[in-house]
Symmetry: C2
Subunit: 332 residues, 2 copies
């Protein structure tokens, strides 16, 4: 018996800032699972800033989304019907089949999840954003106790994980976010100083918060924040280039920092990465980060929209600062 599933399709490629009209809802019949296949009903799906890049029609590390087809992204769901002996009805599984209510996939495309934490943690602090934060902060940032760490986009899923990991490593943490409420939450989880980038002069405010300069910059936003970070960087600073959300929607490429020569004079290391580059750290991540989450040493905040029809809204809100912590869509 076919299962009805609503899904979100890319209707047109955004030019500049994405809009609701770039998306459409469709209802499809999901066929019964064939041999080796599993039927899954999604409970939660993730929207992430990197998905904006897949809406451009250009070569990248992941192929572009196709117009008229369902979008993709991280999701956790429950097995409803299984023709793969590795999965039983009721199992919690992770997939890249987000943006839809139900789907059939080969068991090999699913990842069975342990319990013990809320299922949506596997889309946030114990999922791709958490692993992004944990792996790059250690591998590129090379943190030492006493380092000063500046984090942009600090209230987001990745940024808020970085802030808390840095505190656990004995660092001083300066967080930039777009509202005083977000900064208040970040201080409640241990951040030393907050900068509201929408108020006053960013460079002056960061200088005041980090009078001795910074040793590590965790970059989620690019643009002006990157220029400021170059200005306040100490010699041998490490720049973890995770994302540049401030320029993802630019129609014309914006000029880069005016102070690039600091990279030479201050001997800065600036390095980009994709979380899969650090797949060798997966076990270490699950062990250490899992322990921190279970022990309450790392707190995960969430912003939740309900229903697949609100997934585009959740995605659009990423670019207007609508989320504190992980932005999620509850489907189940």
């Amino acid at each position: 018996m076919a299962t009805k599933s609503r899904e979100i399709r890319l209707k047109s490629r955004p030019v500049g800032m994405p809009e609701a009209s770039n998306f459409e809802v469709a209802t499809v019949d999901v066929a019964d699972p064939g041999p080796g296949e599993v039927l899954v009903r999604n409970q939660w799906m993730s929207v992430d800033p990197y998905m904006r890049g897949r809406m451009y029609d250009r070569p990248s590390y992941v192929p572009p989304f196709q117009i008229g087809q369902a979008l993709q992204g991280g999701a956790v769901g429950t097995v409803v019907q299984s023709n793969d002996p590795k999965f039983a009805v009721g199992d919690l599984v992770e997939s890249m089949n987000g943006w839809r209510e139900a789907f059939v996939a080969s068991g090999s495309a699913l990842n069975k999840l342990p319990g013990g934490v809320p299922p949506q943690a596997y889309l946030g602090v114990l999922g791709m954003p958490g692993m992004t934060a944990y792996t790059s902060f250690h591998r590129i940032g090379e943190p030492k106790a006493g380092d000063t760490v500046f984090v942009s986009g600090a209230a987001g899923a990745v940024g808020s994980a970085v802030c808390q990991i840095a505190k656990l490593r004995g660092c001083t943490v300066i967080a930039s976010a777009g509202s005083d409420e977000k900064l208040a939450w970040l201080k409640s989880v241990g951040v030393d100083a907050g900068v509201n980038y929408k108020k006053g002069n960013l460079l002056e405010n960061v200088r005041a918060a980090a009078p001795k300069g910074i040793d590590i910059y965790f970059d989620n936003v690019g643009g002006e924040h990157l220029e400021v970070a170059l200005d306040v960087a100490r010699p041998f600073a490490r720049f973890i280039e995770c994302g540049m959300i401030s320029i993802y929607n630019d129609k014309e490429p914006a000029p880069g920092p005016r102070n690039m020569s600091y990279i030479v004079g201050k001997r800065i290391k600036m390095q980009g990465f994709i979380v899969s580059d650090f797949a060798d750290m997966r076990e270490q991540f699950y062990t250490e980060m899992g322990g921190w989450v279970r022990d309450g040493k790392i707190k995960a905040e969430e912003t939740v929209e309900n229903g697949v029809e609100n997934a585009p809204k959740a995605f659009l809100n990423l670019f207007s600062g609508g989320n504190t912590g992980k932005m999620l869509v509850k489907l189940g």
Copy 2:
């Protein structure tokens, strides 16, 4: 008996491009050496692009030059009189007391040089520029045989050493320089393809020379070259940030590359350095590079001005592309 020495002083700080009027010649009496001191007559002195940075009055990794005082820089000379038992008359020594004909210094500020190569090699391919090229190319560039290496400022002292070291490591080398004559010389020492950055569209020309992209970018110039390198970089490319001569004389800071987001998407590592950061590689450098130079596997070209009074001219010519290979001033 005092020794007369002519020296070059900074008369005024350059604003934008340095001019002859920023310098002045003075004649001083050099006193006889005291206990532990040595009197040296310089044979050769070096002018290098990094000296422009010391003409600004700002904190940096080396203190700024002072107005009315003699400039400083690498020099090789001969011991004329010695009160330090470690130095004998006739010894060849290296110092940071360039821009003058003779000087007295503590023996501890001098470095005795072996023979076997022309003395001025210790200001070029076996000196600071050669060590800059050798250490950073290996330590930051992490070259593998088969890599494609793009070198800007390729005809200069550092760039031409990088090109030849890269060839010895089995890399394909694309060189950018400002004249067809320079490129012809670079091809004569093994470079695979040359781009004259003064002719046509730089991006198109680099793309044509490196159709599969680049794995290592050795940056001496910054500016447009850096943007082009980001465009043609392959995933996991390493950018060795040695210098940005194209922007050293900017009166207003110029915007950076418009394609900074490639650092994330292509997982680029961009790292600045100062040669002293890699002091631990000194012995390896002398051994391997010395062998290459003696065996004729690395060729050093020179552009020479004569007389300390022409040192400012030599320095100014660095910024108009007046040198092929190491720019030197012959004093002895």
